[in-house]
């Protein structure tokens, strides 16, 4: 009987509260400058990690002059002090001498709310791989706090062009996602366009004007070998890889019109995919491989359409503005990002295909060529800073944080984010 009463009481004695409002915001974090225990070390891990986390848009990184304490080991942290400042997580670290490498970096990610260490690593570092290791640490922190794989260790490809002695030089580059460590993949006197990563990240398909008209090539990045695909003399452009990497969708000129074809790489066979009186181009494969999204002016103005491979059914995706083109689709297949114009310049638009909700992420005049990060949570795009001088910008998915990429060579455009390495 006593037990029953107790049970009844405990079942009854619950305070019920409904919380309806939160503050949509970035996670507050502090990266305390690492303790340097080696000679002649002038890199700054904390700064690089802070920068990475900040540009994701998911973190609010506390300015270092506000730090209540500058410690380098988690056991020296006064959790409550940080917690009271609203800093829910703190990173501490130190650079230590290493026998098997140039030095080692040790860091700890601490949860000040629960008063415990979330994770910690010791990583040997070569001098030249400092940035890579710092991005790696950013990825570890990012993934531990958001549950989403990080993208700071990923790469991008883009086209750059400079004028040399009245002649243009076009370069297809691969660089780290922050624009550092750029490596030329292909250099041409003639125009290069539309780079596209193979799903395994080992190939790049792109358009080269080396034969005076646009043609698609596939290049093996490790070996540098390249093939024309499809191997035809027609103008081909705007390559897109199928999710399994076995096919390309390409735009082929048919008469005076442009239509989309699928091209099977192994068998070198092409198959027409679209048939309309208008231009159909800029294909992008959905992650499930079942449909292709493309740009078409069949209704007069360029808009995005989706066509299913098995049924052949086509549906228009965009209705806002006068120009929606050059789409990319998020890895989860839900969001479609595009170059959008509603009469006030070219901007980056984001469509949620699940809800139909559309919003404009940027406010430039010549923003274009958006590309999703492999985790779908950042977007890279090109914009024109001044006449004929393009730059690349990484924007957080909510459009709040935009960061220019530091690139050395002149005019850059057509960035495309690489998939995770497999």
């Amino acid at each position: 009987m006593f037990l029953l009463t107790l049970t009844l009481n405990s079942a009854h004695a619950t305070l019920k509260i409904e919380v309806t409002h939160g503050i949509k915001g970035a996670m507050p974090i502090a990266i305390i400058p690492f303790d340097i225990q080696v000679n002649s070390f002038d890199e700054n891990f904390a700064k690089l990690i802070s920068n990475d986390l900040y540009k994701s848009g998911f973190f609010e990184v506390m300015q270092s002059y506000n730090y209540p304490q500058k410690v380098h080991y988690s056991h020296n942290l006064k959790y409550k002090v940080w917690r009271d400042l609203g800093i829910e997580q703190v990173v501490v670290g130190r650079v230590l001498p290493s026998i098997r490498s140039d030095y080692a970096v040790e860091f700890e990610l601490v949860d000040t709310v629960r008063g415990k260490r979330i994770t910690g690593y010791k990583i040997p570092v070569r001098k030249e791989s400092f940035r890579k290791i710092a991005h790696k640490i950013s990825d570890i922190i990012y993934e531990n706090l958001t549950g989403i794989p990080g993208i700071f260790g990923t790469r991008i490809a883009y086209i750059s062009s400079i004028k040399e002695k009245h002649r243009k030089k076009f370069t297809l580059n691969v660089a780290d996602m922050d624009g550092y460590n750029a490596v030329p993949v292909y250099i041409s006197k003639r125009e290069l366009m539309s780079p596209a990563w193979s799903p395994d990240g080992k190939y790049l398909a792109y358009v080269s004007f080396e034969k005076k008209h646009p043609q698609v090539y596939i290049q093996n990045l490790a070996k540098g070998t390249r093939v024309r695909a499809p191997d035809i003399d027609n103008s081909t452009s705007a390559p897109a890889w199928s999710p399994d990497g076995n096919m390309l969708a390409v735009t082929i000129s048919v008469g005076n019109n442009l239509e989309i074809f699928t091209y099977e790489i192994q068998t070198r066979t092409t198959k027409r995919f679209t048939q309309s009186l208008g231009i159909d181009t800029e294909a992008i494969w959905s992650p499930d491989g079942k449909s292709i999204i493309f740009t078409s002016n069949r209704s007069g103005k360029p808009h995005l359409y989706r066509k299913f491979l098995n049924t052949g059914k086509t549906a228009r995706l965009t209705f806002k503005g006068v120009y929606n083109a050059d789409a990319d689709i998020s890895p989860d297949g839900r969001y479609v990002v595009m170059t959008h114009n509603a009469g006030q310049g070219f901007k980056i638009g984001l469509l949620d295909t699940k809800t139909g909700y559309f919003r404009v992420l940027t406010n430039g005049m010549l923003d274009e060529a958006p590309s999703f990060a492999p985790n779908g949570r950042m977007i890279l795009y090109a914009t024109e800073q001044k006449q004929g001088y393009g730059i690349l910008v990484a924007v957080s998915e909510d459009g709040r944080i935009k960061q220019k990429l530091s690139l050395s060579d002149g005019n850059v455009r057509e960035p495309v984010w690489a998939p995770y390495k497999k």
């Binding site: 305070l15 409002h21 915001g25 970035a26 829910e88 709310v113």
Partner: protein
């Protein structure tokens, strides 16, 4: 003959008178007068025995004697009456006193009764008042209880909204989260408001969102204190229902 007849009549009369006196005396005189009356009767008896030989003169004498005796009797009677009156007066005096005494006694008892009555009345009144008071107190306590429970429920609303506001200021919905549904957290607190455990249940959300709920609760520890001990509950069920979703 005639005289004879008269004397018989006189005799008869004499006997009647004597008898009457005797009866009166016997009736009205107490034991104290008894010997006197006895003497008189003896002398009358002796006279009677002598009657046969009496002459007319003797008769007159006898008549005179009777008269005297009658007078005496009358005197006795009067004195007796007087005495009776006296006695009566005495009696009256006595009864007066008695009456007075009785009256006094009566009065006393009456007073006692009155007092008792008064007392019992007072007691009844007191009892009644007591009952009234009790009733009033009961009503008052009932009112107070009602007031108290009213106050409690008001305080409970305030208490709950204090916790709600406290958590809301601490809830940072992560920018990285695309989750838009609701989740429930079961929280245990101690009387100081310190959160001792957090369990997120029925929450099909993404990692960061779930973590933000936990963070919001841990950061809100200690919870606002219960304004009344009766309102404190160890178990708090918090449902997170972001508005507009």
């Amino acid at each position: 003959m005639v005289s004879h007849t008269i004397s018989w009549q006189t005799f008869n009369q004499a006997i009647g008178l004597h008898l009457l006196v005797a009866i009166i005396l016997m009736l009205s005189i107490g034991e104290k007068q008894a010997p006197k009356i006895g003497k008189i009767l003896e002398s009358i008896e002796a006279d009677l025995i002598d009657i046969s030989t009496l002459t007319t003169q003797r008769q007159a004498f006898l008549e005179k004697k009777i008269e005297a005796e009658n007078k005496l009797l009358e005197q006795v009677r009067i004195s007796k009456e007087k005495r009776l009156v006296e006695l009566k007066d005495q009696e009256a005096v006595i009864s007066d006193a008695e009456k007075k005494q009785n009256e006094a006694i009566n009065k006393a008892s009456k007073d006692k009764v009155v007092r008792e009555q008064k007392l019992s009345e007072e007691k009844a009144k007191e009892d009644y008042e007591k009952q009234l008071l009790l009733k009033e107190e009961e009503q008052l306590s009932k009112l107070q209880q009602q007031e108290h429970s009213k106050k409690l429920s008001r305080l409970k609303v305030e208490y709950k909204s204090a916790i709600k506001r406290h958590i809301e200021t601490n809830w940072v919905i992560p920018q990285s989260s695309r989750w838009e549904g609701s989740c429930t957290a079961f929280v245990r607190q101690n009387p100081a408001g310190d959160v001792t455990s957090v369990n997120i249940e029925s929450c099909d959300s993404d990692f960061a969102y779930k973590k933000s709920l936990e963070n919001a609760i841990w950061k809100s520890s200690p919870f606002p204190l219960a304004p009344n001990k009766e309102l404190f509950e160890r178990e708090v069920k918090i449902s997170f229902n972001p508005e507009g979703n």
